[in-house]
């Protein structure tokens, strides 16, 4: 296996600047779940903190704790999944912001915080239509009232109200936003004083100013991963941060064999349907099993670099270009890259 993932932290910092410019005055929360979308948690968090990012989104509390250790006490770290009281205890101990979208979880958080003698800092989640995490609108007023009671008891601090949109259509997202606005209003009526409202992720944060509120949660765009079916990264002022590459290990017949295969995380369904970048420009990906077969070029030689996806310097497409060939999204291509593929950093 000769594959490596080349990560340009300079490009990451430029994307972060670009996103912050677009969404200002809203704050950027950089989403770093799943090893920073496969780019490597600690290097990404360190570079982002240096670029001025103050909020990090970490999915689970263990990732949140790892971010806390990397950036120190001042950054805000948001986790929105706690599977158990032990998870909540980690969140309280590490001073994480915890997303709460379930009445039972709210009670768990309050109980753990009382035991710890320190209020849990929470962001209450309204289900504005996605029907994953979040309290349904008809249950929300009672949920908000209960939260206000727990604030009065000093068991929790409610610092945010948030939701997550489906991006099914602009009209449906508008309905979600109306449901969100109503939830914020009802939370205030219940006596809560949420200081951070956040609703939008990558696509809406760029396309729809009215979805930005106080903060946007952006992962994909900061890594230069455009939306499937959406505008090119360059049109958005973004650049792909990662380049997945491997070496030619043999030249035979009309093709080359490349030292990377499906077990490194590249979907075998791409074979015969996608192209990759070579010293001679784009070439067809012929087969993808234990290794990769790629259409040859004039003076191909072992050791030549093949770029599977990246910014395009070798004629390769982006992660999202590959994803679209098999009906998925660039994020899935990025996070499937095996953790055993070495990450190589530049631009530190």
């Amino acid at each position: 296996m000769t594959a490596r993932l080349h990560v340009d932290l300079g490009a990451l910092a430029r994307n972060i600047d670009r996103v912050r410019t677009v969404v200002a005055p809203a704050e950027l929360m950089l989403v770093v779940k799943d090893d920073a979308y496969g780019h490597g948690l600690a290097p990404v968090v360190t570079a982002a903190a240096r670029a001025g990012v103050r909020w990090f989104g970490a999915f689970d509390v263990h990732t949140g704790a790892a971010v806390r250790r990397t950036v120190g006490p001042d950054a805000r770290v948001f986790s929105w999944i706690a599977a158990s009281p032990d998870d909540i205890a980690v969140a309280v101990a590490e001073r994480l912001d915890l997303g709460i979208g379930d009445a039972a979880l709210l009670e768990e958080a309050a109980a753990v915080a009382r035991d710890a003698g320190r209020p849990a800092r929470v962001h209450l989640k309204i289900d504005s239509g996605l029907h994953r995490n979040g309290v349904r609108p008809e249950d929300w007023p009672a949920f908000a009232a209960r939260a206000a009671q727990l604030v009065a008891d000093a068991a929790i601090d409610v610092v945010g109200v948030w939701s997550h949109i489906a991006e099914a259509s602009d009209d449906e997202d508008d309905l979600a936003r109306a449901a969100y606005d109503l939830a914020v209003e009802q939370a205030r009526a219940a006596g809560l004083t949420p200081e951070v409202r956040h609703l939008a992720a990558s696509a809406a944060s760029f396309a729809r100013a009215e979805f930005r509120y106080d903060m946007v949660r952006v992962g994909a765009f900061c890594y230069g991963i455009r939306s499937a079916g959406g505008p090119a990264a360059a049109e958005l002022g973004l650049e792909p941060v990662a380049r997945l590459e491997a070496d030619v290990v043999a030249v035979d017949g009309d093709g080359v064999t490349v030292g990377m295969g499906a077990l490194e995380g590249l979907p075998s369904s791409l074979a015969g349907r996608a192209s990759v970048g070579t010293p001679a420009g784009p070439r067809r990906l012929l087969a993808l099993g234990e290794r990769m077969r790629v259409e040859g070029w004039a003076d191909a030689a072992p050791g030549d670099r093949v770029s599977v996806y990246g910014p395009g310097g070798d004629g390769e497409g982006t992660a999202t270009d590959l994803a679209e060939v098999i009906g998925t999204i660039g994020e899935e291509i990025a996070v499937r890259v095996s953790p055993l593929v070495p990450r190589v950093y530049a631009g530190e």
């Binding site: 779940k33 029907h131 489906a166 099914a168 499906a262 995380g265 499937r336 953790p339």
Partner: protein, 218 residues
């Protein structure tokens, strides 16, 4: 930390059965196979853990294959579709129910509302998404086991979670969900995943084993 917390966990768990690996290797030895294909050790032994797998192979008296050997391959060793009859799956993938709530007729689920409820039902939010190898294409295309019942994954699988339509089954926060088990015992298996994703058993199981929390069991 970064290590798995106590149960229930915020990410799905890949349970690797030493017993299944050992039995699959012993059965192969019983059929006269004396060596294993070196490819079974690739990618941390297809996500099962190279040290464990080496130990099991040595315990069964199997040596690395020479080019013309009739060797034990990954499908049989790991109990995947296409392996020898009777080979048991060595990897079991489970998630945890984070919450359960009502879903009303006509309401959509997850990105793009790719699923809409035909009637009032209940949905469970479950740990495990495409970042742990629960391929995005499994949304609306695969079923999981919760308690005694099989229930469909509905809507788009997200990066770290998915949604399961549990109807009126007695399911609650903290319950275990089986994504992959032993199809021979009526549990969800890789065949359904292969049909839904157009990917191979080897790459499916490897991605899961490398990305989910991994635990070795007897």
């Amino acid at each position: 930390m970064g290590a798995p917390g106590p149960e229930p966990r915020s990410g799905p768990v890949a349970w690797i059965s030493r017993g299944a690996l050992a039995q699959n290797a012993r059965d192969a030895a019983g059929r006269g196979i004396r060596s294993f294909a070196p490819s079974v050790l690739q990618a941390d032994a297809w996500g099962h853990g190279e040290a464990l797998v080496r130990d099991v192979l040595a315990g069964a008296g199997l040596a690395p294959a020479e080019p013309d050997d009739r060797a034990l391959g990954g499908a049989t060793l790991f109990g995947l579709p296409g392996g020898a009859d009777g080979a048991r799956p060595a990897l079991r993938l489970t998630g945890t129910v984070l919450s359960v709530k009502a879903l009303r007729r006509g309401e959509g689920v997850s990105y793009g509302y790719a699923f809409r409820a035909e009637s009032d039902t209940r949905v469970a939010l479950v740990t495990g998404g495409y970042a742990q190898g629960i391929v995005r294409a499994l949304g609306n295309a695969a079923r999981v086991l919760v308690g005694e019942g099989r229930h469909p994954i509905v809507g788009r699988v997200a990066m770290d979670v998915c949604v399961v339509d549990v109807g009126d089954a007695a399911v609650g926060r903290g319950d275990a969900v089986v994504f992959l088990g032993d199809a021979a015992h009526g549990e969800p298996g890789l065949e359904e995943w292969m049909r839904a994703t157009n990917l191979t058993a080897a790459e499916l199981v490897t991605a899961v084993g490398l990305r989910a929390l991994r635990e070795v069991v007897a």
